[in-house]
């Protein structure tokens, strides 16, 4: 037997016992502490400060002051230099960031090493280039920064989401108060150290840690000009209500229930990989995850057989092991939610299948799952599970595929698998999704805008369009 021996990554990141907030270029004294853990072991990694409205206010004031006195006065070229410097330091500390992210999030080290960190870095490099070219962003001559941006990011890609938010905001000349998720604050706090190392002027980037109330205080702060949120549709709606009537500019990147549509003329082996990647990448904690497999009825049996065989090779376990494919679920709450939804889906007629795999004793785990024979009315076909669970729905014709794919309250992403180019283009035109991948899935690039329709939110991140969320037309 060719069993892979353990290949653990070295623990190249170390954390302080406790962290304060990063306000005005300095860390505040840790206060109001709560533990942040490694979801794969439940071991406490550090104590984190739960930010209060007062902390938020101090951070917004620091950001305002920096915007008016320092950052807002720098030329684009000067801002670009800082962004390049941050990107380079992140590259130098890439392995440390990857390890920190894996420890705090539970995702496999191969993903943080090969995806999260390089993608985060690429966002800084890309927007660094934009900083002195804003005249070409599409808003005419000399567009202006909005001011102070309040940014709230989720736990599924903590560092990458931070980069998606911070890089364009800084390139456009805004200052920032960012709140990471309560369960995954550590990479943001390491990023704060990187800002210090890059000698970024005080107050340009401020990081306040905490829970939902901290986020609400930040989003609701009267001196904030822009709100950018990535997270659940539920919270997104609360934020939209909270800022309604203010002149805050808002972008929301929310949930999804993407259809990954596989036709009988698809490149089958690659489609299998695409479906696997679409739903089991990052334990399915992906807003654009291909959580609904729409499979043409004529190849359903053969495809599911192949899919199951492929799922048997997925390696679930220690996220720090370089050969791990599926890591830990990020929190006990999330695990409970996944279990509840799957149970409901099965009670409504879905057929659950999971490969046999050893589940570690500690930590939060859910073996990769498919729920076959799912009707469009089933809970697992409608609700975002945000876990490694694939719902299988069949279709007979392209028109039926489109109808079923669009039959969701979300509209973030979709995948089309066919070797027939004309069919692919026609379908792409008919799908209501912000991002459509063909014969691939989960591809991200800083040059390409990303965002949703319907309850998946509004505004775009990435590319030239991503800048528009942080700029207004010049006077």
């Amino acid at each position: 037997m060719f069993d892979y021996a353990p290949a653990p990554e070295a623990k190249l990141a170390s954390f302080q016992k406790s962290y304060g907030h990063f306000i005005g270029g300095k860390f505040t004294k840790p206060a109001n502490l709560y533990p942040t853990i490694n979801p794969a072991t439940e071991e406490v990694l550090a104590q984190i400060s739960h930010g209060t409205a007062k902390d938020v206010d101090l951070a917004v004031k620091a950001a305002r002051s920096s915007f008016e006195k320092v950052w807002g006065k720098l030329s684009g070229a000067e801002r670009g230099k800082y962004l390049y410097r941050i990107a380079r330091i992140m590259q130098e500390r890439a392995r440390e960031l990857a390890v920190a992210e894996t420890l705090n999030n539970g995702k496999p080290i191969k993903e943080t090493r090969d995806f999260d960190v390089p993608t985060a870095v690429s966002w800084f490099f890309y927007y660094a280039g934009w900083a002195d070219k804003l005249d070409h962003a599409g808003l005419g001559h000399n567009p202006q920064a909005l001011g102070v941006a309040a940014q709230v990011v989720p736990w599924n890609f903590p560092l990458m989401m931070l980069a998606w938010k911070i890089a364009p905001a800084l390139a456009a000349g805004n200052t920032i108060v960012l709140k990471p998720s309560e369960t995954t604050p550590l990479s943001a706090l390491l990023f704060a150290e990187i800002c210090q190392q890059a000698e970024l002027p005080e107050g340009v980037v401020n990081i306040v840690t905490g829970f939902g109330d901290t986020g609400a205080a930040l989003v609701g702060h009267k001196d904030v000009n822009k709100v950018a949120f990535t997270g659940s549709t539920e919270v997104g709606k609360i934020i939209a209500k909270q800022v309604a009537g203010s002149n805050k500019k808002v972008t929301l990147e929310l949930g999804g229930k993407a259809a990954n549509i596989v036709f009988d003329d698809a490149p089958i082996d690659q489609a299998i990989e695409g479906v696997i990647n679409g739903i089991f990448f990052n334990q399915g904690h992906v807003c654009c995850a291909g959580s609904r497999l729409l499979i043409q009825e004529s190849i359903h049996d053969e495809f599911i057989k192949k899919l199951k065989r492929r799922m048997n090779t997925l390696r679930l376990g220690n996220p720090m092991d370089k050969n791990t494919d599926v890591g830990a679920i990020n929190s006990a709450d999330q695990l409970a939610k996944i279990k509840k939804l799957v149970k409901k889906g099965v009670s409504e007629g879905g057929e659950l299948w999971q490969p046999e795999c050893k589940i570690p004793r500690n930590g939060f785990w859910f073996a990769p799952a498919i729920v076959d024979n799912v009707s469009p009315a089933n809970t697992v076909a409608r609700e975002e599970i945000f876990g490694p669970v694939l719902s299988v729905i069949t279709f007979r014709t392209p028109a039926e595929a489109v109808t079923k794919a669009n039959n969701t309250e979300y509209g973030l992403s979709a995948g089309i698998w066919t070797e027939k180019g004309s069919k692919m283009l026609k379908l792409a035109d008919q799908l209501n999704a912000g991002v459509i991948w063909s014969n691939t899935f989960n591809q991200f690039d800083p040059t390409s805008p990303f965002g949703g329709f319907k309850e998946s939110g509004y505004g775009r991140e990435g590319g030239r369009q991503g800048l528009l969320s942080y700029l207004k037309a010049g006077k």
């Binding site: 060719f2 021996a5 090969d114 490149p267 082996d269 690659q270 370089k322 070797e419």
Partner: protein, 318 residues
């Protein structure tokens, strides 16, 4: 299963063509991404020891040069029988792979050793000769005692769409592998993937070879610019896996040419395990066609066993 049963009609060039072109397409980007992702597997300690030993057992130690001499072949056989002078436990390669006229020398040198002799045949490497010559080439090697025959397909016929011709040639060579007494020679069919160029062609050629009775499908001669690659091998492993599902026949895969390091070899083993499955992790069903690979594997093996990297002066050149 009979070819006609599999294709579902009488064998004509048209029916073969229809059948081959009905195979699912291959997406280049996706296939290469999958191979690249498997190449990041980290093989350490015990699994590395296992993998290196298996790589040696799967090796067809090869010399295919115009300048080959009986002495050179004898020396290679000696190397195969005692790869590591200091370690009698060191496994030996599966076979020695030579040109047909060198088979008697190899057989003599290997004596009673279990190491097979494989001979390239059918006007290797180009395959550009009359069928009569190709068959005689094969029969000579078989008569000399070759245990395995590595034939090349007629790429010209394949690329011009003359699939039936390719099929018939493979069948005829398979026939020429028979012996009046004793076991027939094992047939490896070289697709020369570097000349077929597209992954779709490689999948079709794999199926065509299996349909015609190949025991093994092999990537390359080692004589063209592009030889074995990880994505091509992955694709061929998918083909044998699916063929087994369909027919219950176990067909082997042999990447050849360009695999030079122990690290490369381990990557191939990972691809075998995660594509076709553990069942294929045996010299019966997977081989490496290589010449310089053995010494790198031996050096890595010594390093693992002695905790010291001794370097090339401590393994014999062949």
């Amino acid at each position: 299963m009979q070819a006609e049963e599999i294709v579902g009609s009488r064998l004509t060039n048209q029916s073969l063509s229809r059948w081959l072109h009905s195979l699912p397409g291959v997406d280049k980007v996706g296939l290469e991404a999958r191979a690249a992702s498997l190449a990041t597997r980290s093989i350490k300690t015990t699994s590395k020891v296992w993998g290196l030993d298996m790589a040696i057992k799967m090796m067809d130690l090869t010399t295919l040069e115009g300048m080959d001499t009986p002495q050179r072949v004898r020396s290679l056989c000696q190397k195969a029988m005692t790869p590591d002078m200091d370690d009698p436990e060191c496994p030996t390669p599966a076979a020695i792979c030579v040109y047909g006229d060198m088979v008697p020398h190899a057989k003599a040198a290997l004596g009673k050793s279990k190491i097979h002799v494989a001979a390239v045949a059918t006007a290797f490497p180009s395959g550009r000769a009359s069928m009569k010559v190709k068959l005689q080439d094969t029969k000579d090697a078989v008569a000399f005692g070759a245990d395995e025959i590595d034939m090349v397909i007629d790429r010209g016929a394949f690329l011009s769409g003359n699939y039936l011709e390719v099929f018939k040639q493979i069948q005829a060579v398979k026939q020429a592998c028979q012996r009046p007494k004793g076991k027939p020679a094992h047939l490896k069919v070289i697709l020369e993937t570097g000349e077929l160029q597209t992954y779709d062609n490689i999948r079709r050629a794999s199926y065509l070879a299996m349909l015609a009775g190949a025991d093994f499908i092999k990537t390359s001669t080692g004589k063209v610019t592009v030889n074995a690659t990880l994505p091509i091998t992955l694709l061929m492993l998918e083909a044998v896996r699916d063929w087994f599902d369909q027919t219950g026949e176990l067909i082997g895969v042999k990447p050849a040419g360009g695999i030079r390091t122990a690290k490369d070899a381990l990557r191939y083993l990972v691809v075998v395990k995660e594509t076709a499955g553990e069942r294929w992790l045996t010299p019966e069903l997977f081989r490496f066609g290589a010449s310089s690979l053995l010494n790198d594997v031996l050096m890595q093996r010594k390093k693992l066993l002695t905790k010291t990297y001794l370097g090339p002066d401590y393994v014999s050149v062949d």
